[in-house]
Symmetry: C2
Subunit: 250 residues, 2 copies
């Protein structure tokens, strides 16, 4: 497979999709998702890990609110990974991540993730980067093989223009100002460099594949993430435990 | 390398070692160990993970008390791994282990460890066992490569006769009765089967090597564990941070 070039991948929905139809389809998917989540929780054999990555203002928070907010919070945990604390920094980079991997029956959403450690502009030398990619692959394999965890990795792909528009909105809309960070615009100028880092990640850590989600339009982004989660849960072929099975366990 | 046969390895100290001399040597080693621990804590770049495995009554608790009990408890943590809790069991088998890996500057002692999951008589099928061995190797590599952790793995090698003697002592000595478990004698009858499981572990998980410690005599066992820990810390070539370096960091 040749290396993915993000600049060649659309950030808008494919033309055939029509906003109102997709919004309606999403509502149906969320109903399925709700039922499947209950089944995941009840059957208690699988778990789902949703990794959300994307540049600033790519819509990670909105995805969490509008997709996973529709589910029973008893079965969903969200963990945001910010700058590591001193204690976290004193351990290997996967230490803080591993603590939040999903228990059987649960959906865990990562708002940013272990991938932050291979997405730094001032990244360490090649040898260390390669070792981190390998460690990440091993880690994801551990979860998949030894705890029946399905891992869905989403890159929310927003155009530079849309990113700048959203960041500017943060400086003007009182309800969004709390999200404003003076560094955001500096980082936005390095959009191309971050894209390159992501392209490396897609190449090196694709044993469990990434989905690149066109994210300029929220309605399409939410639809696609919800749909992929729904399909993944469906593929688990779960069954409600019967009364008999419950009785024999106790 | 041909497979290790535990039945061919002595459980007594080599003849050239004399008890009184060794006890005196151990005292000197513990002094070194104390100084090196302080240096580990102060320099804050490395960490040490000591994995203690061995059959029931092989002397794990005693090793912890008599070797690591001599150190500053601020820099040493001990974690015992017993039967997994329900929450632990709902995650991959390394989840509970990873939480207790040492922070930089620290010595962490595991009283039993992740190896318990490949040392069960009713073990899962070969394919799953192989996957666990691989996951363990990857996990240890993660700690070594990504947090500067030196891992020392000790198998306390006690003879079946000595084990039975110690278990019997537990039924008679009021200070040891709390350790008695009716299952101990049943498990002791399967000494040979457990040895086979350990031999598989030594073969499959030797990227970070094991030390087989003759453990019929406590004085030799303690000496050897202390010595190997001392030597490992010495090999880290640590230096106290100077005043200048401290100032420039703050």
């Amino acid at each position: 497979m040749s290396k993915i070039k993000l600049s060649e991948i659309a950030t808008e929905p494919p033309k055939k999709f029509e906003k109102d139809e997709i919004k309606k389809a999403k509502e149906d998917i969320l109903k399925d998702l709700n039922e499947l989540q209950n089944l995941l929780y009840a059957s208690h054999e699988h778990s789902l890990l949703v990794v959300l990555q994307g540049m600033d203002a790519s819509g990670k928070d909105g995805t969490i609110r509008d997709v996973f907010g529709a589910l029973n919070p008893q079965g969903v945990n969200v963990q945001s990974f910010k700058v590591p604390t001193k204690e976290e920094f004193d351990h290997d980079f996967l230490w803080r991540i591993h603590q939040h991997t999903p228990a059987k029956g649960m959906i865990q959403v990562f708002n940013r993730s272990h991938y932050e450690d291979v997405l730094q502009l001032n990244h360490p030398e090649e040898k260390i980067m390669k070792a981190r990619f390998k460690a990440i692959n091993n880690f994801e394999q551990l979860l998949a093989e030894h705890n029946n965890t399905t891992i869905l990795k989403f890159y929310l792909h927003v155009s530079h223009e849309e990113q700048v528009k959203r960041l500017t909105e943060r400086t003007k809309n009182p309800e969004k100002m709390w999200k404003y960070n003076p560094e955001d615009f500096e980082k936005s100028e390095k959009y191309g460099k971050f894209q390159k880092l992501y392209e490396d990640v897609f190449e090196e850590c694709n044993e469990i594949p990434w989905t690149i989600v066109p994210a300029d339009d929220n309605w399409y982004k939410e639809y696609l993430v919800a749909k992929i989660c729904r399909d993944a849960l469906k593929d688990m072929n779960m069954k409600y435990p019967t009364l008999k099975a419950v009785a024999s366990e106790s």
